[in-house]
């Protein structure tokens, strides 16, 4: 009887502790989605009969496909670069003595401060030949004018560079942390079996951090699909029009605030959100990344 009462108290207290977060979850995740969905389904100029007209309108918009292609090409450059550099450098860091790698790790964290609007500012000066410390290098390629670099065919590389640079160091240090948690006995055993350091890196360490790398790729991809600040600011103030409606989120911004078509804008937003939810569910149910977290809750 007493035990039953204690369990009941624990249920109530647990709920009370969880409640503030639950309130925020409802307020800032569930309600916005419901409201946006209802706006997207309302009758409007582009959606005369109500229903899914806005979704069709967005998909048929002449700017949609180019924006989708831009974002996908950008991801095609950005994701593999991120994977190779992060995996490579964290393995290299792990192969040297921890204390020797301290200054390197600190240096890799420095670019994390250069993000969002600051990234546009800094990379403008880094890439503009008049100001750039890399100007002599650019000259070798014949790039002497700003427009040699800032032109529409280079945009995917420019944005990939900006976003890669902001996040890579952070992830290198995080993955290095994962590598550090591999038990020494395991690595020692491999060495005794005659594996050299390259073999240890590729056959033992890499498979062991595989799931962390997959998790990183999903987060990076989700964020990359949503790219907005970099193309928006570059195009709205630095080189006017250079990346107009370049990304999907820019298009939804344009629809909402310049085209006064909130219905179509929320429709686009929700379609992106559904892709994100799909990605999230794949990670949660189709990979082993959260297995430990999920089983923990069953035990208790």
């Amino acid at each position: 009887m007493f035990k039953h009462r204690a369990q009941l108290m624990s249920r109530i207290n647990g709920f009370l502790m969880f409640f503030p977060y639950l309130l925020l979850l409802v307020m800032f995740a569930v309600v916005p989605i419901v409201l946006a969905a209802s706006v997207s389904l309302e009758e409007s100029l582009t959606n005369p009969g109500g229903g899914f007209g806005n979704y069709l309108f967005v998909l048929q918009d002449f700017r949609f496909l180019p924006a989708l292609i831009n974002v996908l090409l950008f991801l095609l450059i950005y994701l593999p670069t991120m994977l190779i550099v992060v995996a490579g450098l964290s393995l290299m860091l792990d192969s040297i003595k921890a204390r020797h790698s301290v200054p390197l790790r600190l240096a890799y964290l420095v670019p994390a401060g250069i993000t969002g609007s600051v990234a546009i500012l800094v990379w403008y000066f880094m890439l503009e030949p008049t100001y750039s410390p890399f100007a002599p290098l650019f000259a070798e390629f014949g790039w002497t004018q700003g427009t040699d670099i800032f032109n529409s065919s280079n945009l995917i590389y420019i944005f990939a560079l900006m976003t890669f640079f902001t996040g890579a160091g952070n992830w290198i240090v995080i993955q290095y942390g994962s590598l550090q948690s591999i038990p020494d006995e395991l690595l020692e055993a491999a060495r005794i079996d005659g594996a050299n350091s390259l073999q240890v890196a590729f056959r033992i360490k890499l498979p062991l951090i595989r799931k962390y790398l997959v998790y990183m790729l999903v987060l990076v991809m989700a964020a990359g699909l949503q790219i907005f600040v970099e193309p928006y600011l570059l195009s709205s103030s630095v080189y006017p029009g250079i990346a107009k409606d370049w990304s999907l989120n820019q298009l939804s911004y344009t629809l909402a605030f310049l085209g006064s078509n909130l219905g179509a804008a929320t429709a686009l937003s929700l379609m992106l959100l559904v892709v994100m939810l799909g990605l999230a569910l794949i990670v949660i149910f189709r990979t082993d990344f959260f297995d430990e977290a999920k089983t923990k809750i069953k035990e208790s």
Binding site: S10, M17, P32, A135, L198, M276, F289, S300
Partner: protein, 306 residues
């Protein structure tokens, strides 16, 4: 190469596989090159406000101007809308402070409830939290805009602050922390001693979670301090804006990055805009460097250990 270094190399050659040496050298070259490449842009940003606009174009890019340069750049920035930059800076500071404080408190309580109480629907709440943490915040911007206008919060500080207190990643980190780092027996022992859930939370769990609190504060600060899209969309008045959005306004209303904005007579050019950017970047940099030990110990390794 000094004599001792040469000696070390020869000693190593004897000790380890001779084939491994070129690979090791190559690894060092790559690591050092990437480190240099990592610090150049930030170093440039720190140096830029010390120079004049002419110096920025003509002096070597990585050179230092004068300390007076920083003061001049600051004074010039203050000419923009009667020192609006100070308002933005102050807004950024107090918005972020509230967000970090509230987000961390709520996340710790939520994570603890998932890990150590018998709260109902724990599993489904955990899955929901995982979903919310993987979907990037940017995906919610337009839906949030619709909600904020419906609530009548458009163009108020709360439109920026409130959504930033929702911190599912923090709940997840806290949940992992309370269910792995602190042994379950400890909670049980405290309960047998007669402490209720709240007592266990305040007397046992909270005092043991300094590392966790540091990590949560670090992540929520990072996300909120630099947030651009949501503040940009839900706020219109200059006096409610934050520094990152303000920087974007400086881009479009001064000739600093786009000489074609010529009608503007304010002396806000390269050095001034760099100083404004530095005000955003420096706090992030300092917090990153200060918590690099937390990061190195492994956000993932420590929390999602296999």
């Amino acid at each position: 190469m000094t004599l001792t270094e040469a000696k070390k190399v020869t000693v190593r050659k004897k000790k380890i596989n001779a084939k491994a040496l070129p690979a090791k050298t190559l690894a060092w070259v790559v690591m050092v090159a990437f480190a240099l490449f990592s610090v150049i842009p930030m170093t440039w940003l720190v140096l830029a406000p010390s120079k004049t606009q002419v110096g920025l174009q003509e002096d070597p890019p990585m050179s230092f101007g004068t300390f007076q340069g920083y003061i001049d750049a600051w004074n010039n920035l203050m000419l923009f809308q009667d020192g609006r930059l100070v308002t933005w800076l102050w807004n950024s500071i107090w918005y972020t402070s509230i967000q970090v404080l509230v987000a961390c408190l709520i996340a710790i309580l939520g994570g603890y409830a998932l890990a150590a109480t018998r709260m109902p629907f724990r599993k489904s709440m955990l899955i929901t939290t995982l979903v919310a943490m993987i979907v990037p915040q940017v995906a919610f911007v337009l839906p949030l805009f619709v909600e904020i206008t419906t609530l009548g919060l458009y163009d108020t500080a709360w439109a920026i602050i409130l959504p930033g207190t929702f911190f599912p990643f923090g709940v997840f980190l806290s949940y992992i922390y309370f269910s792995t780092t602190i042994p379950h027996d400890l909670y049980e022992a405290a309960r047998i001693d007669g402490s209720g859930d709240w007592g266990v939370f305040f007397r046992i769990a909270l005092p043991l979670s300094k590392g966790l609190i540091g990590m949560l504060a670090f992540f929520s600060f990072q996300v909120n301090w630099i947030n651009f899209f949501l503040p940009y969309v839900v706020v219109n008045s200059g006096e409610v804006l934050t520094l990152p959005v303000g920087l974007g306004i400086l881009f479009s209303s001064t000739p600093a990055l786009n000489p074609q904005v010529g009608a503007n007579v304010l002396p806000i050019r390269g050095p001034e805009i760099a100083l404004a950017g530095l005000l955003i970047a420096i706090p992030i940099l300092l917090i990153f460097l200060a918590s690099s030990r937390l990061l190195v110990r492994g956000v993932l390794a420590g929390s999602v250990k296999s």
